[in-house]
Amino acid sequence: MDLTELYQSVILEHNKRPRNYAVLPTANRVAGGNNPVCGDEVTVYLRLEGDRIADISFQGAGCAISQAATSVMTLRLKGRTVAEAEAIFARFHDIVTQGKADEEDLDLSAFAGVHQFPARIKCAMLGWHAALHALHNDAAPATTE
């Protein structure tokens, strides 16, 4: 396994320059996520207008996989309905757990290498779980455990 398969340039680039990395003052949904084993933390901010994610941002501290996966997520979920977001979540979950690349979405597919590193799957999913908690208005923080 070549490390560049795990750390694709998309991931390294998003880690260095995360998108939508800010507190969202207009957010009406906020959810935290943490991995108690490694201490990675992420907070996802959403502004839900009706059924649609009008805006989304995040802040956090953690490894390149967790930060880049959350950064890419904000790009994918912005403007989507809750049902569409859930479908994208499921697709991303398949990519990181089974390595199923998605020709339609090269940025998400950049995370396909993660499935060969089972210890790192929870890193990739951390921000996504937090977003799902925010969408479902689940008060409990998302945790990888």
Binding site: M1, Y7, V37, C38, G39
Partner: protein, 412 residues
């Protein structure tokens, strides 16, 4: 005067550890996660096998030959553990599952002795296992926790206010001998002496010291001391809690069951003598026997020599890692235990550890079960390389090389 011990043949000792001689991801294994657990020499593995193949039986109760052999070997391990830490008597050695269970045992047994308004003093550099049991004890009794602060990145205890912290209703001072995150060697003799002046009991967490340097409970002047077998070339599942005999005799039992009783009636029981009062149920007999072999192995080399060996590797690594641009090294620059802990500016510890693993180098990344300490220092996670007697200067070369590569890779 004993004659000075001959310099150990480190390369020959390395051959005693079968697990080290393998490749990982196509590279020779460089095992630098000894702070988490150490590898086992053939002598320890053979002791376990011999016990299970020849002597296995339950201890203390049966009359037959195998039980006699198992009991003799188990109690010989206890006497060996007492000698290993210079405890006055074998009865002061309680076998536990490890350091964590030893500390929990003491915290539980102290419950009836603490009341609302009492205080327990710990330090900011404690492993969760020497913090959470005291939080639980405090919650049970209404006692308060107090903390000896850590100075900053150089990772020393700030002792300027120690007498203030030790005054008032403090019942116990629990502190680590060597920090698993910072590598700091705490002045345990002084800390125990200062606590004693205030009439306060002491517990030393020796998880990172017992197998790495001479540990003498009488020289330290501690009341309790806990360590784990698996962090000192012994098996997992076995550890020791040392306690002064008069204190152990006064404390209530931890768990109830077989072995720990003198007489049982339907409504009440009386307790066995120490240490059996604290060892309910069938103990880890094989573990104790394996630990005995580990203690023999370490003392045949000599713990002063092991301490010097580990410290030299750590010091070499510390000095050379300073050359990595932007690196933040934690813990004292001078005397330190056998580990280095650091954060890179552009690479999270988990990414560094994954990177190193692909190069065959086993490191640890994260908060090292010292979350409050890292939060205070403002570091989300560190990468740690921890050394033991079988590590070599060439492995330090490899560590530095891999960290430089990782820094470059993630800086992109």
């Amino acid at each position: 005067m004993k004659p000075p011990a001959p310099t150990p043949d480190w390369a020959a000792l390395r051959a005693d550890f079968p697990i080290l001689h393998q490749t990982v991801h196509g590279r020779p294994l460089v095992y630098l996660d000894n702070g988490a657990t150490t590898q086992k020499p053939r002598a320890v593995i053979a002791a376990l096998t011999r016990y299970y193949e020849q002597d296995n039986a339950n201890v203390h109760r049966a009359i037959h030959e195998l039980s006699h052999r198992a009991t003799t070997a188990y109690e010989a391990a206890r006497a060996r553990a007492a000698a290993f830490i210079h405890a006055p008597a074998p009865e002061e050695i309680i076998f536990t599952r490890g350091t964590t269970e030893g500390i929990n045992l003491l915290a539980y047994a102290l419950t009836p002795r603490l009341r609302r308004g009492d205080a327990i003093l710990v330090t900011e550099m404690e492993h969760h296992s020497n913090l959470v049991p005291w939080q639980l004890l405090a919650a049970r009794t209404g006692a308060q926790l107090r903390f000896v602060p850590v100075t900053g990145d150089d990772g020393r205890l700030d002792l300027r206010k120690l007498d203030e912290l030790l005054s008032g209703p403090v019942r116990l001072f629990a502190f680590t001998h060597v920090s698993n995150t910072l590598g700091t060697i705490n002045p345990a003799v002084e800390l125990c002496a200062r606590a004693r002046q205030h009439g306060i009991l002491t517990l030393v967490d020796a998880a990172q010291s017992a197998g790495h340097m001479p540990v003498d409970v009488q020289a330290l002047g501690c009341d309790f001391l806990a360590f784990s077998g698996h962090k000192m070339a012994g098996p997992t599942g076995i550890g020791v809690l040392y306690g002064r005999r008069d204190l152990l005799e006064a404390l209530d039992p931890f768990q109830g069951g077989g072995e720990m009783i003198a007489s049982v009636q339907f409504e009440q029981s009386t307790w066995n003598k120490v240490p059996h009062k604290f060892e309910a149920g069938t103990p880890d007999i094989a573990g104790a026997i394996g630990l005995h072999a580990a203690m023999d192995y370490l003392d045949a080399i000599g713990r002063p020599a092991i301490a010097a060996h580990d410290a030299a590797l750590a010091q070499d690594a510390y000095q050379r890692l300073r050359a990595v641009p932007g690196i933040r090294l934690l813990g004292p620059a001078g005397e330190r235990g056998g580990l280095v802990s650091f954060a890179l500016p552009n690479a999270h510890a988990h990414d560094v550890v994954t990177f190193a693993d692909q190069e065959g180098v086993a490191l640890r990344g994260g908060h090292h079960c010292t979350q409050p300490l890292l939060r205070k220092l403002g570091v989300p996670a560190t990468t740690r390389a921890s050394f033991y007697l079988y590590n070599t200067p060439a492995e330090v070369d490899r560590l530095v090389e891999v960290i430089l590569l990782a820094a470059k890779f993630f800086a992109g």
